[in-house]
Symmetry: C2
Subunit: 277 residues, 2 copies
Amino acid sequence: MKIVTDHNELHAARHLLPRTVGFVPTMGFLHAGHISLVKAARGECKSVVASIFVNPTQFGPNEDLAKYPRDLPRDLALLETSGVDLVWTPSAEVMYPSGYQTWVDVESLTRRLEGDIRPGHFRGVTTVVTQMFIAVAPDKAYFGQKDAQQTAVVRRMTKDLDFPIEIVVCPTVREKDGLAMSSRNVYLNPKEREAATVLFRALSVAKVAFDSGEHKAKKLCSLVSAMIANEPLAHLQYVSCADYDTLDELVTVRGKALLSIAVFMGKTRLIDNIVFG
Amino acid sequence: MKIVTDHNELHAARHLLPRTVGFVPTMGFLHAGHISLVKAARGECKSVVASIFVNPTQFGPNEDLAKYPRDLPRDLALLETSGVDLVWTPSAEVMYPSGYQTWVDVESLTRRLEGDIRPGHFRGVTTVVTQMFIAVAPDKAYFGQKDAQQTAVVRRMTKDLDFPIEIVVCPTVREKDGLAMSSRNVYLNPKEREAATVLFRALSVAKVAFDSGEHKAKKLCSLVSAMIANEPLAHLQYVSCADYDTLDELVTVRGKALLSIAVFMGKTRLIDNIVFG
């Protein structure tokens, strides 16, 4: 496994890789969710490139950039074991050199849900993903369904800018008790960790109702919020039932839809979702 | 010479072209300035791709999109004669399909001069150039010095997004009497056309002064504005003496600098510039 930092090294190493090339962008502190993306890429592509970059521009001024968990040696060992061919670990100076001033913005999709609560977050995501798509020039790129809005935004951006890249969205990987894997789970204390299972339990109740014929968005959302309200350590920030592609809020679920939630467990903010249809 | 419209045709034709590939993006209604870009590309690259697309997103609501001059058959004949291999003539629907919402914005450089007067103009330029750079994937791209701020913005964007593309800026091509070639010159009536030589005459006076040792920006600008003021049909909108790369206004010209002007001749707005250093 080759490890590169700057663009020249990356371009030189990338051009030696046989195609097709699969790309897994990450912010490091890898868990089984990330590794599932690598394995999907490994199964579908001749070469696999991963990046590790804690992208400062997708953190808000009051967010956790400084204390975002990092463990590069462990990450590199995991990627090597998982069969990655090339790892790109750029510095912030490589991605945003002095005088940097170019931003990629997906408008409508990023002005709701996570984007409404975290203004500027998705502009940071789409800007760094654009840079990485140009630099890595993969055939396929792999994202986790857990960050559902991010996948919708990246799919739209890829289509709008006509990147010749297939976006592959992989299922959310969960702990045995249903909690979605997230680098931020390390922030939970034991009681919060135990209570955090309420996210998936609440979504599962809605799924059972949907499968039993309940297709009214309002009803599905109220099942989720009632369940979260029963957990004293949890505080629901939003619950949304929206079109899978446009993220427009629905009245009735007909096509593919996304039921998504953001929940505070103490100071830690968790997100999760399930897909209908 | 092959002519393509949609992305699939473009990708198929592009992959057959031997590298290096030179790219000349245009809005059509070609003149000798455009052809000089094609010839530069022809001289430096194995293959030459040109695009003709009157990009709606770089026109403001009160600008001349509908009446922007067009002559596709003539343009195609000129490009074929000049040795272009592949011409891309996308429709607005190809570049901005239903639901389009992704924008590329270069911040600081576009908030002054042309960008200050034409808000949103450069966002349209950088968005369409990004789309075209991704789709055409050239090794070199050719722009005219006449649109000086555009070249600074595109150079910055290319650097920031790390496109592996060399931006080549070619000298302004002028009519015999000094008027810079522009598709918009057709809007001038005969008296305005004659008077329009004042732009280059004014810039030339400043150049002579600079070459004689006058390096104070204010003095160079006032030589230009005095000369424009002497022409009754001309109305100066701005004169600027700025750093060539950052477009920061200068007190004293030391390194490479740009002296640029925007002038109304009747209802027609013309721009021109010269480079010092």
